[in-house]
């Protein structure tokens, strides 16, 4: 008998697929790269500095807090991802202390105090953003004109997002016009490409511009198409499922279509649902914020309910609310409800006795 090597005894299963927490976090970060690069191109190198500072402060905060709780968790990638998300949620001209505050708030208050990775009830990056938004509203709501629109932008409109502009216009009493008409009347510019495409496809130039990413906004949220590419990558890698993004986008679009025209005096079924899907960070929120594992429900059914809830609140705040930040606040609200969803909405159990009892009763 040859000498036998020592064997490990452990519970089944003895196989595991290739996934790991860190792997997932890095893949999500990778999926954000196109939108990030576009943001840096659009708003200049200072955006890159903002993003790097956010990531740096988030990772540093995680590292230092890890010293306190005697663990090193920076390599699981979650702090990096939180930092990246915070950075992408900054307006392109914020002073650097704001992303630092946001990142530290995200890691320290939203995540670490509740028990670290997996134990937080609110999306850390979103909490960070909301915190600095309501603390430094002026900085956080002055936007930079994107490079592609720079020449044509009238001075009066500089620093406003289309969504913000329309909201202000409607709030100050203009009625009877769609959002695109309002923008056109004020002389809001559109890119050459969008105007050409508009002539060919018959889709409004502003809508095309927000789809491609030629609008003002936070660094990472402007280009719906690049965010969609990232989202589809995550879907293909099976890192996210379709339930949250699809139900979120659909429910907010349908509700906006039905009721969205009311504040502007257009009546029912006249809401501009397409522009609403493509602006104000909805795409970013639906694909990357609402799908955060920790703060969204576990089951597919629960995820669908979560998405519909997000869509409902986004529509509500946008159409009838007086504050901006509809997407962030709706997702945070649904984060609160997530544990309740998980308690009451569960997958159907195989061979559920109740179901059989019903069947027998019918028969």
């Amino acid at each position: 008998m040859t000498e036998q090597p020592l064997m490990i005894v452990s519970s089944s299963p003895h196989l595991h697929d290739k996934s790991s927490t860190a792997n997932i976090m890095w893949h999500v970060s990778l999926a954000l790269v196109p939108a990030t690069l576009w943001g840096i191109y659009l708003f200049g190198l200072y955006s890159l500095v903002i993003i790097l500072v956010s990531i740096g402060s988030a990772v540093l905060a995680e590292f230092l807090l890890g010293k306190l709780s005697k663990e090193c968790t920076i390599w699981d990638g979650s702090a990096f991802l939180t930092g990246l998300l915070v950075g992408l949620n900054m307006t392109p001209s914020v002073p650097l202390f704001i992303p630092i505050v946001a990142s530290i708030f995200a890691i320290f208050v939203a995540k670490w105090t509740f028990g670290g990775l997996g134990a937080n009830w609110a999306n850390p990056a979103l909490s960070g953003r909301i915190f600095v938004f309501f603390s430094f509203t002026t900085y956080m709501s002055s936007f930079t004109t994107p490079r592609t629109l720079l020449k044509a932008m009238p001075d009066a409109l500089g620093g406003a997002t289309p969504l913000g502009f329309v909201k202000t216009a409607i709030a100050s009493g203009s009625s009877g016009m769609t959002s695109n008409e309002l923008l056109a009347q004020a002389g809001y510019p559109a890119t050459e490409l969008a105007r050409k495409l508009c002539a060919v496809l018959g889709i409004n130039a502003y809508t095309i511009d927000s789809f491609l990413g030629n609008i003002a906004g936070s660094i990472g949220e402007v280009s719906s198409i690049l965010l969609l590419i990232g989202g589809i990558y995550l879907l293909i890698r099976k890192i996210i499922t379709w339930h949250i993004p699809v139900t979120y986008l659909l429910s907010s679009a349908v509700l906006t279509w039905i009721f969205g025209g009311l504040p502007a005096g257009l009546g029912m079924f006249h809401g501009a649902f397409f522009p609403s899907m493509l602006s104000g960070g909805l795409m970013f929120g639906a694909l990357f914020m609402a799908t955060d594992y920790v703060t969204s429900p576990l089951s597919s059914k629960g995820k669908a309910v979560f998405g519909i809830g997000c869509g409902f609140f986004t529509f509500l705040f946008r159409t009838f609310g007086s504050m901006p930040e509809a997407v962030s606040v709706s997702i945070l609200m649904m984060n609160i409800i997530t544990p309740t969803i998980d308690r009451y909405i569960r997958p159907r159990k195989f061979g559920d006795k109740k179901l059989f009892a019903k069947k027998e009763a019918v028969a």
């Binding site: 090597p5 005894v9 452990s10 968790t73 920790v294 576990l298 569960r346 159907r348 559920d352």
Partner: protein
Amino acid sequence: MHAVPTFRKGGVHPPDHKVFSREQEIVRLPLPSELVVALSQHMGAPAKPLKAKGDTVERGEKIGESVGFISADVHSPVNGTIKEIKTVTLPNSVQCDAFVITVDEKQPGDASKPIDWRKLKKEELFASIKEHGIVGLGGATFPAHVKFTVPRDKKVEYFVVNGVECEPYLTSDYRLMMEKGKETLEGILIAAKILEAEKIIVGVELNKQDAIDHLKEIVKEKGWPIEVVGLKVKYPQGDEKQLLKAAINREIPSGKLPLDVGAVVSNIGTCYAIYEAIVYKKSLYERIISVTGEGIVNPKNILAPIGTKVSDLLEFCGGLQGDVEKLVSGGPMMGFAFFDTETPVTKGSSGILALHARKKVRRTPCISCGKCVDACPIGLMPTLLYKHITNLNYEVAMNSLSLLDCKECGSCSYVCPAHLPLVHTFKTGKKMGRKK
């Protein structure tokens, strides 16, 4: 167009790793000098020893008698002498008494004349199965005579034969279908006669297309009333609940048996054992074992006597190679890791795997991704179960989260990106919960 049948909820797709031993024909192990035949090789009560130290035994002689309703007889695989009775630990950490048999040099020659089973009555066939100690060879080792006892008020509409072999690595059922197809199918007919089954279905996963074709050909040629169904590859389709859902679209209610939906499920290896028991009066004292995995020099499918020590099997396969980290009895998804190569194989050992060390991934806290919820074929919420059990909250886990419906298939642990020991925790949770 008919979609390829499979079960709907959950399931995973581990790489099948069957390549190591897939093309290896079944070979008979040269008789080892010593066997260790355990008395608890089946689900239920251990058998009562009928022999004492120093007694001689003959091949096929009953040496352990079933005690109680769920139990099975144990037979000697060889002519030999009982050297001693000692306590052994089986891979599934069951401790029981075992006969250590010194094998005689001279062994009887093979095989009596075949018997025409069609002339036998149902009752005679049934008695024969009990007498020859047949148990389910899929791994659960449920005594066949208990399973085949159909209560008067129940009827067997479907006899579903499990040729799925959904566990990665294992190829013993595949080789059996390829090499002993006709005999196995006849065993299926015998079982169906005992059960008075109306329909017979053999479920095989599509990664064994040649086995499906082979069986179909025999069935067609003989005109037997057996339907061979190809199933989409998905783990754990070899579980009887998932198999029935896939093959006949019936769902066994929680806590009930296949008989409650008019079906009986048997492993294909069991059917072959039934054939041998009836036609050649051969008790269940040997079985086909896949000795495979990347850590085996020459992976093989071996016909070995029950009680063979793992060390003898490994030696016959050229020993271990590379950085072997685990020895597993059974498949890699539900099998048991063990460390002692003196451990004997039992009626339930479908395979012995030698697995190389795998990349260690750091465990993180649960990130609530819900992958386990999507993977669970039973529709449980593994992560919630895990949290409740680790907080010693057994009652919630047992009652509102249906811990006892978990069959430890391992799908949740397989997909968990946080690498949490989910199945391990559920096993512990069940024990602790029952204690309370």
